[in-house]
């Protein structure tokens, strides 16, 4: 395979120009500034230049550094896992559901555990959708139930049993110290324990979610930002068909 090496671009191919900003928990002085530059160098940045250094008070200082990234990466050598499906429009999805399921597909959505930020799940689930892309509630072929914020994983699983859900969509938006990973693992473990994991298509979305991370956590797919309802719907119907064929 042809190699495809890349490095950051500023204004000349291969210049490696990058910016970064960070705080050091010490007051600003000449030593601190030198320390910030050394740190940048250790991060792989050649010719680090302190574009800005400012004392933030109470023994903290803030730095903006520009420099040249020493590293490069061969894109051809990477294998990124992506959910494989063709993105269809709403009508095509509805038709597929009618053909293949012969009933409405039941989709449960929730922000689980500690997360109270429903922006993401609302954008996918609610009638209005987001940015002109209507949500799953507007799909005739689907019964979309948005449980909203801070749903306990146990409650979500109980509801999935009660509603005979085909799909569970989970959103994790705001996280602190990576608590979203624990939350997500807990849900997939619970489904496993209930013997439901094979019956339910489990999807997670959020700004820090990649498909690869989702797979690692035992999910069928993960969606990041710029995902709309039709992306999720296209994936789940394809996944449903794929499972039926298997």
């Amino acid at each position: 395979m042809t190699e495809q090496w890349v490095k950051p671009y500023g204004d000349t191919l291969g210049d490696g120009r990058v910016q970064l900003s960070f705080t050091l928990p010490v007051a600003l002085d000449e030593t601190t500034k030198e320390g910030a530059k050394r740190l940048a160098a250790m991060m792989g940045i050649d010719e680090p230049a302190l574009a800005h250094a400012e004392d933030m008070g109470r023994g903290f200082s803030f730095f903006i550094v520009y420099g040249l990234c020493r590293h490069r990466v061969d894109l051809a050598s990477l294998h990124v896992v992506k959910p494989e499906y063709e993105v269809l429009d709403k009508e095509a999805i509805n038709r597929l559901i009618a053909d293949k399921l012969g009933r409405r597909m039941v989709v449960l959505g929730a922000c689980i555990e500690t997360d109270a930020h429903t922006v993401g799940i609302d954008a996918i689930m609610n009638m209005k959708g987001y940015n002109g892309h209507k949500g799953l509630e507007s799909y005739h072929g689907m019964r979309a139930i948005n449980l909203g914020a801070q749903v306990d994983s146990e409650d979500l699983v109980a509801r999935a049993i009660e509603e005979q859900a085909d799909v569970i969509l989970v959103s994790q938006v705001v996280t602190q110290k990576n608590i979203h990973l624990d939350n997500l693992t807990r849900l997939s473990d619970l489904l496993e324990a209930e013997g439901l994991r094979d019956k339910i298509i489990l999807v997670v979305g959020g700004p820090r979610i990649s498909h690869e991370l989702a797979k690692e956590l035992g999910y069928d797919a993960g969606f990041g930002t710029k995902t709309y309802a039709e992306d999720v719907a296209s994936f789940v119907i394809h996944e449903w068909i794929k499972r039926g064929a298997a």
Partner: protein
């Protein structure tokens, strides 16, 4: 800024509708008390602490009264009766009840127990007034922040780490520190006890945490020559208790909405209406500025289409606040800058909405919230969105300015996120300090017309709510497009119909006879 031309008669009609809406809810709900109202009453009478299983003593006593079918009479006279009969303090009564060595009964002499309760309540009221006086004295001696007040959150989960961050934030320019609660605390039917060092997405609201942070902010405020206000969350299943704790520890602001818990936390409607009344009464008495949560409607519904729901809700919140004795300058009515940045002329509509709210509530301590819904993770764009928000805030003379973070939607703020947020706001507030006095709205222009439209829509919405009643309106999803029913949600089991001889010493002391 020159005023928008608005029809005052229309504002009056909308406000009259809201008054009747709130009064009707109040009349229906004042026949009930709740477990947390009674627990708050006990806290105000001096009951605190936890049992060996960390269950708060106010919960133990109230459960005990419920088991003995006594709660409908009110917790105060049973406890005061036992104090007199056994020669114990309120704490000792609670400890004995928790230990199982004392069973509470109706007092032998109801009139004497009530008189004792009044006396005990009066001494707590005096303590709260002393805190209120101390706040005023401190503001006088160390100095008052200039408007808009910069409001910043800390949320490390550890109160000691919060203190470091809060003091740093104050040094950088914050005027108000809000300690975000651990996620999910709003759904706990008790208030945790003591200093806490672990939480998720925030720090537990406990009386000890309140006390620690208050002392830290007093200390840094003296150093900076500016009184630093402390905020917490008087919401969820323990609104009245949080209010009581805040009154005792001199919190300055409380998030305290009449409907937020119902809509966004699925807390039972009856429970919330009763709890918000009592909690606001305590907040009013303690000189606390409440913050309402209308900004949240705009994160769920579209900020342009739902603008009138904010105004309608603010008018309802204002009337509930009056019923609890709050003055206009204690009403931090909430709204937000949440219009989609891709919308053409969105900035004009934000100006129109903010100025409309300013004019409808000229004396309120308006709370203006930054963009969150359309913050994308592109921190450079986010910083710019925050700058536009800052411009609207200073141009329309908002009071409580919640700082927008360029990393909104990414993580709880890092120290440099806060630093940059303050820098951004201070720059805009300084460079545009007198802009508001220099510019005029074009009569009949886009901004004025938009404000008039929103006002008219709010008036219509309030007329409809008045017709069907607020519970039915919430049931129809008229706020934030979320529907709740009077018997749904969490906490209904804590609603108790008062008996005819129900007694609570605080309303007459705090409201002066209502």
């Amino acid at each position: 800024m020159t005023q928008l031309h608005l029809d005052q008669a229309q504002i009056d009609r909308a406000r009259d509708s809201a008054r009747r809406i709130a009064q009707r809810v109040y009349d229906e709900m004042s026949r009930f008390t709740t477990t947390t109202v009674e627990r708050a009453t006990l806290r105000l009478l001096g009951v605190d602490g936890v049992d060996e299983n960390l269950v708060p003593l106010p919960n133990r006593v109230v459960s005990h009264l419920q088991e003995r079918q006594l709660l409908q009479h009110g917790a105060a006279s049973a406890v005061l009766g036992a104090m007199k009969e056994h020669g114990l303090s309120a704490m000792q009564v609670a400890e004995a009840v928790a230990a199982g060595t004392l069973s509470l009964n109706r007092p032998k002499n109801e009139a004497a127990a009530r008189a004792d309760a009044d006396a005990q309540a009066r001494s707590m009221c005096e303590r709260i007034i002393r805190q209120r006086t101390q706040r005023e004295a401190r503001i006088k001696s160390v100095g008052e922040a200039s408007l808009p007040w910069l409001y910043l959150i800390v949320a490390t989960g550890n109160i000691h780490e919060d203190i470091v961050q809060a003091q740093a934030a104050a040094e950088q320019g914050a005027d108000i520190i809000a300690v975000i609660r651990s996620t999910g605390q709003s759904l706990l039917d008790y208030v945790p006890y003591g200093a806490t060092t672990e939480g998720f997405g925030g720090t537990y609201a406990t009386q000890e945490n309140f006390r620690l942070m208050r002392a830290a902010l007093d200390e840094v405020g003296e150093r900076l020559g500016r009184y630093i206000r402390l905020t917490n969350y008087c919401s969820g299943l323990c609104m009245p208790e949080i209010a009581a704790m805040g009154a005792i520890e001199r919190l300055d602001m409380m998030l305290n909405d009449s409907m937020y818990g119902i809509i966004f936390r699925d807390i039972n409607m009856q429970r919330t209406f009763i709890d918000q009344f009592f909690s606001r009464m305590v907040n009013a008495y303690a000189g606390v500025i409440i913050n309402t949560g209308e900004d949240n409607y705009l994160t769920t519904a579209d900020a342009y289409e739902a603008a009138h729901t904010v105004l309608a809700s603010q008018l309802i919140n204002e009337q509930f606040a009056y019923l609890s004795g709050l003055k206009p300058d204690q009403m931090g009515l909430g709204h937000a800058f949440e219009i989609n940045p891709e919308m053409e002329n969105g900035f004009l509509w934000e100006l129109a909405h903010a100025q409309l709210v300013r004019q409808v509530f000229p004396d309120a301590a308006l709370k203006y919230m930054p963009p969150t819904k359309h913050m994308s993770g592109n921190i450079f764009m986010g910083h710019l969105q925050d700058a536009l928000f800052n411009i609207v805030s200073t141009a329309t003379r908002q009071n409580i300015h919640l700082l927008g973070m360029l990393t909104e939607a990414l993580h709880t703020p890092l120290i440099q996120d806060r630093f940059l947020a303050i820098q951004n706001a201070k720059y805009v507030f300084s460079t545009m300090k007198d802009l508001h006095a220099e510019i005029q709205f074009k009569p009949g222009g886009l901004i004025e017309s938009r404000a008039q439209t929103v006002l008219a829509e709010a008036e219509r919405m309030l007329a409809e709510i008045e017709e069907i009643g607020l519970p039915a309106a919430i049931g129809k999803g008229m706020f934030a497009e979320i529907s709740r029913t009077p018997d749904g949600g969490k906490g209904l089991d804590g609603v108790v119909r008062k008996s005819d001889d129900y007694y609570n010493p605080f309303p007459k002391l705090m409201l002066g006879g209502r």
